[in-house]
């Protein structure tokens, strides 16, 4: 049974594909072997059919090529106006994807999927617009010819001799829910052509003699049929995967393509992708970094190649090694690769003899791994030579011509100096010359590279023989030991040059790796220790700016939307155009802007900050050099951005957790508050209601004593209610953080005086001892709040001590702080409660009714807002003692007598 069970990962992937498809619009491709088979006609026909089924259909872009029968089909279909683009004085028309999305039809018709948009459009290619429509949930019907598929473009050119410039990636087929092949026999197509149904009369002949030859058409037809068959096969497999029908599961094949800095690699990559697709196999693209320094052009081509591979679905690996064949095999073994695809070397026979063929070596040592050698072709070869200056064999990068020229110039200089010394100074023999030349070779190996060093070794050996070894100015060597010397020189130069260059590469690579690890470590470390979002972002921006020499901006989320402006730590300034690019990146989760196919005219490269769950922002990067990032830089940047995204997510989650905790805490407080105050509120209300109703009774009114007592009962209850409300208000102001101190220069003695006077009635006949230090300076306080603290403390003292005991208040200055002590001579605070009396709603057990449990909590809040301290303790000789310590900040300004002069 087991062998019939589908691979769970594959199953999941198939289901996810299905889910993604449900949200997305459906794509139907009308597919043909060449122009004129009737794709547009078939598409319009199908669309009209849907329209009859009450589907909302619009025409996004249809080119009828003035074919009458096609044009009649357009009648009655709504056409979304095209977008006009001015390009170098001419006005071009493009499909307006935004207008279609705004119109929200169920189905849009888009002709010519492979079309290249006018420069300045958001996307380079129309298929990207189509993907956007699909993602907006709009179904799309589109048309495309087989020659436009990237993987077939080469084959088409080989068959027809016509280069195809407008291509779509094969991966567009993954989006397709349905493919309809519009098939026509080549003879019928030629007949249609002759009848003028495809091209206008003046073009018929040219077309018929070139592209539309029977041979070409047959080949294209085969290609179209095959592509359709492949696609149908895939759909069948997806179906079987989901339905758990036992069948041919994915093969165990794993392909690996060797990528170099050559434009030819593109073809290899496409070839491999196609093969992997047909084999249902995973595939890797591998670049082997050798000791040779690539030119900037080569670097760019390499980055392009590796990006292409990644876009086509390969896993990209960069490995180091001087022997490309060995390194390739090492990676192949590590990754269980079954087939390796390499380019066929196009170098001359001589070069192959001299340097050995990597391909031959690879084949010799490959063991059980199959090797495919794929040929590059002449046309591309020319373009390679034109572009890089000389052909670059697969898969090695070599130094540029300038580097070779420099190496030979150094050898020439050394030789010239040696010539002078040799002729002028008698003891400078040809051996000394030989060793100085050797030195030159080593220097070249260290500072320039291996290739130039080998060339220098070769050149210097020849010149040494020719210019210095007897007989001079011939290539002959007369003495036997000179022959040995010469041969040894040659070998040593080559070995030493080789070794030195190799060491240098290792060192460079180690340094690069160390730099990369350091940069990542720095980012990880700094962001891990950052305490808040601002710190995190500032660190991230600084690190990226440093490592990539770029200006950086981060756009975070504000609610569910992207912020209007960069985070303040950013070094970039936003403008509306940039923001719309960033917005696109945010909505689609794909990079855009500079160096991408989407909105490349923007100077800033935008990357989504993506976490497994969502997109938390967009980062914009503008390289100061404005050159494309190399592939490893791109990978590093990706690592950076995902790290930053994770840290931002962490911060966002922290904030959310904090808010949740605060909410929980405030809910808890709210519950406690309700419990505590409902009783406190009801008691005075009950007293007031009771007393008032009693006073309505004629008997009570006539009893002066009773009514007097009831009236004072009402008054007391109302005062208690008032105190409760004031406490609650104070507490809520303190809690909400909205408490703003109104600091002013105050006389502490005056505050105490006011507080005591306010409590006159509560204090009654109680003895109050007030001692104020006569040298007490003015201090900056919030008069009303500190007065409130003293009132609360005095009130507490009154409530918790017998009426006959005194209360004392002392204020004195100790250095730069003022100490106010409120003490009573009552029973003191139970030791167990000392720590808890400042808690909200805490009331010492067994205390009299009437308090809220808020007074002391409010006091401490106010004193702490003044950066002071409130300490509760029991005095040694009995009674509770509360000490307020307030720091004195600044000297009170001088005062001035009135001047009546």
């Amino acid at each position: 049974m087991n062998e019939y069970r589908p691979d769970p990962d594959a199953l999941l992937a198939a289901i996810q594909k299905g889910e993604a498809r449900e949200r997305r619009g459906k794509l139907k491709i009308f597919f043909g072997m060449a122009a004129g088979v009737g794709k547009t006609y078939a598409m319009l026909d199908a669309a009209r059919q849907r329209q009859l089924e009450a589907v909302d259909v619009v025409v996004g872009y249809v080119e009828t090529h003035k074919r009458a029968e096609t044009e009649t089909l357009l009648d009655g279909l709504e056409i979304v106006p095209r977008r006009k683009v001015d390009y170098r004085g001419t006005s071009l028309e493009e499909m307006d994807a935004d207008a279609i999305i705004a119109r929200r039809p169920q189905l849009a018709l888009v002709d010519e999927l492979a079309h290249t948009n006018a420069p300045g459009s958001r996307h380079a290619k129309r298929y990207q617009d189509v993907i956007e429509l699909l993602e907006a949930g709009i179904d799309v019907y589109t048309t495309v010819n087989v020659q436009h598929f990237e993987s077939r473009a080469d084959a088409v050119r080989q068959i027809t001799g016509i280069s195809v410039h407008e291509t779509v990636p094969d991966s567009i087929l993954d989006y397709a829910d349905e493919i309809e092949l519009i098939d026509l026999s080549p003879e019928d197509l030629r007949k249609r052509l002759a009848e003028g149904k495809v091209y206008t009369p003046e073009r018929i002949e040219v077309a018929a003699n070139n592209f539309f030859r029977i041979g070409n058409l047959t080949a294209l037809r085969e290609m179209a049929l095959r592509l359709t068959a492949e696609q149908v096969d895939h759909q069948l497999q997806d179906y079987m995967q989901v339905k758990q029908i036992a069948g041919p599961w994915k093969s165990g094949d794993r392909l690996m393509v060797a990528v170099s800095a050559s434009p030819f690699s593109e073809k290899l990559i496409r070839w491999t992708r196609r093969m992997a697709y047909n084999l249902e196999a995973a595939w890797l693209a591998v670049f082997i970094e050798t000791s040779d320094t690539p030119t900037p052009d080569a670097k760019e081509q390499l980055a392009h190649n590796l990006t292409l591979a990644r876009e086509l679905g390969a896993e990209v690996i960069i490995a180091a090694g001087d022997d490309v064949a060995d390194a390739l095999l090492r990676v192949a073994r590590q990754r269980n690769v079954t087939q390796i695809i390499v380019g066929k070397p196009l170098r001359s026979r001589l070069a192959e003899l001299l340097r050995g063929s990597m391909v031959n070596r690879l084949i010799r040592v490959s063991g059980d791994v199959d090797i495919y050698v794929v040929k590059g072709d002449e046309l591309e070869r020319q373009s390679i030579e034109w572009k890089v200056g000389r052909f670059i064999p697969q898969p090695k990068i070599h130094s540029s011509l300038q580097q070779y020229a420099l190496a030979l110039a150094i050898v020439a200089t050394f030789t010239a100096v040696d010539l002078v010394l040799f002729s002028q100074i008698s003891w400078v023999g040809y051996q000394v010359v030989g060793l100085t030349e050797l030195l030159a070779v080593l220097l070249i190996a260290v500072y320039i590279g291996r290739g130039p060093a080998l060339a220098a070794a070769f050149a210097s050996a020849i010149s040494w023989n020719f210019l210095f070894i007897d007989p001079r100015f011939t290539f002959q060597i007369s003495q036997a030991h000179d022959v040995i010397l010469f041969l040894l020189y040659f070998l040593i130069a080559i070995f030493a040059g080789n070794l030195t260059a190799r060491l240098r590469t290792r060192e460079r690579q180690a340094r690069y790796n160390a730099d990369r690890s350091m940069a990542l470590y720095a980012l990880a470390h700094e962001t891990a220790t950052a305490v808040n979002m601002n710190d995190v972002l500032r660190t991230a921006i600084t690190q990226i700016a440093k490592v990539f020499d770029a200006d950086v901006g981060i756009l975070l989320l504000e609610g569910d939307r992207l912020a209007q402006d960069y985070h303040p730590s950013s070094t970039l300034k936003i403008d509306t155009k940039d923001h719309s690019v960033a917005q696109w990146v945010f909505e689609h989760g794909k990079p855009a802007g500079r160096f991408t196919d989407t909105l490349p005219q923007s100077p800033v490269h935008f990357i989504p900050l993506r976490t497994p769950n969502r997109i938390v922002g967009v980062i914009g990067i503008q390289l100061r050099s404005d050159s494309r990032l190399s592939y490893d830089q791109e990978v590093l940047l990706e690592t950076f951005t995902s790290q930053i995204a994770l840290v931002i997510e962490r911060e966002l989650l922290d904030e959310a957790a904090e808010q949740a905790a605060m909410l929980r805490e405030s809910e808890r407080l709210f519950a406690t508050l309700l419990n505590s105050i409902s009783h406190e509120l009801r008691t005075p209300i009950a007293a007031i209601t009771g007393a008032a109703s009693s006073l309505r009774n004629p008997q009570t009114i006539n009893n002066d004593v009773a009514s007097g007592e009831l009236l004072s009962n009402i008054q007391d209850a109302a005062e208690r209610l008032n105190r409760l409300v004031e406490n609650l208000l104070d507490m809520s102001r303190l809690e909400s953080g909205r408490l703003k101190l109104k600091r002013d220069w105050c006389d502490v003695g005056e505050i105490i005086g006011v507080a005591v006077k306010r409590l006159e009635s509560a204090l009654g006949d109680r003895q109050i001892k007030i001692v104020i230090d006569p040298h007490l300076q003015l201090i900056r306080l919030d008069f009303v709040l500190i007065e409130q603290v003293i009132i609360n403390l005095l009130d507490n003292a009154c409530n918790y001590t017998p009426p006959e005991t005194p209360i004392s208040i002392e204020a004195q200055q100790r250095q730069r702080q003022v100490e106010i002590v409120v003490r009573d001579y009552g029973p003191g605070i139970p030791e167990a409660d000392i720590e808890r009396i400042f808690d909200k709603f805490y009331r010492a057990p067994g205390t009299a009714a009437g308090g809220t449990g808020l007074g002391l909590s409010i006091c401490r809040g106010i004193i702490e807002a003044h950066e002071g301290k409130l300490i509760a303790e029991n005095a040694r000789d009995g009674g509770a003692r509360f000490t307020i310590i307030l720091p004195m900040i600044g000297e009170p300004p001088p005062v001035q007598e009135v001047n009546y002069g």
Binding site: A718, N722, E726, L729, R733, K742, D744, W745, C746, D747, G749, E750, I752, G753, V754, V756, K757, I768, I770, I772, L778, F783, V784, E787, P892, P893, V895, Q896, E897, V898, Y900
Partner: protein, 228 residues
């Protein structure tokens, strides 16, 4: 008794209006009511009350606006009602031209005292050369201050302060009003002058300077010389 003086009560709370009406009518005032700022303005113009009691929190416009509009054409005394925690409102009301304020909740006794003071200050004051409150006597003509018959030595500043407070006996004066009157308009921010000189003054004229009874501090607002 209040000899039929008329009072306009401006408050949107019917309970407050009712309790004020009953209390004031009981002692002989003639009481009118207004619920909104607009009503307050028209009623004041129509009825020409002798005194207005104005709540700062009104539904249609705030009390300050009413006060400003009133002060454009009338000097009728206005007593403002406000709540605790709004010292700023009290100061603003006083500086806008209110004669006094009361903090809710307040007792009728306090209200009556304020009304009497405001009423007195709105009348043309007979030029009394000697003022006395409790044991304190101030002889303006001779610039002489005596406490229980004994002369008290004063600096010019202390005397200027005391004279201002005495001239406005019973009324609250804001910090700014005092500073402007005694030191001059450029000193209105120097509230610490007041802390220092009132402390000195209290040392000289109060029985118990730690708990002053004569010149009391109105926290966050100003000072008041208590008459009754």
């Amino acid at each position: 008794m209040a000899d039929g003086l008329s009072v306009l009560i401006v408050d949107d709370e019917i309970q407050i209006r009712r309790f004020l009406r009953i209390s004031l009518e009981a002692v002989g005032y003639q009481v009118h009511e207004a619920e909104t700022g607009q009503q307050a303005l028209t009623r004041t113009a129509q009825l020409r009350p002798d005194l207005v009691i104005l709540d700062i929190g009104l539904p249609d416009m705030d009390g300050f606006q009413v006060l400003t509009r009133l002060r454009e054409w009338t000097t009728t005394p206005v007593i403002v009602l406000s709540v605790r925690d709004s010292d700023h409102d009290k100061v603003q009301a006083l500086d806008t031209g209110a004669d006094d304020y009361l903090t809710k909740p307040f007792s009728v006794d306090e209200l009556m005292a304020r009304i009497r003071v405001a009423q007195r200050h709105s009348q043309p004051q007979p030029e009394t050369p000697i003022f006395s409150v409790g044991d304190l006597q101030v002889d303006f003509a001779h610039r002489l201050v005596t406490l229980r018959g004994k002369p008290v030595k004063m600096t010019p500043t202390e005397y200027a302060l005391l004279r201002l407070m005495v001239q406005n006996a019973g009324k609250v004066l804001t910090h700014q009003q005092i500073l402007r009157a005694v030191w001059g308009p450029e000193y209105v921010e120097e509230t610490h002058y007041l802390r220092v000189y009132f402390a000195q003054l209290r040392q000289k004229i109060e029985d118990n300077p730690a708990v002053p009874k004569l010149i009391v501090t109105e926290p966050g607002v100003g000072y008041r010389l208590v008459v009754s």
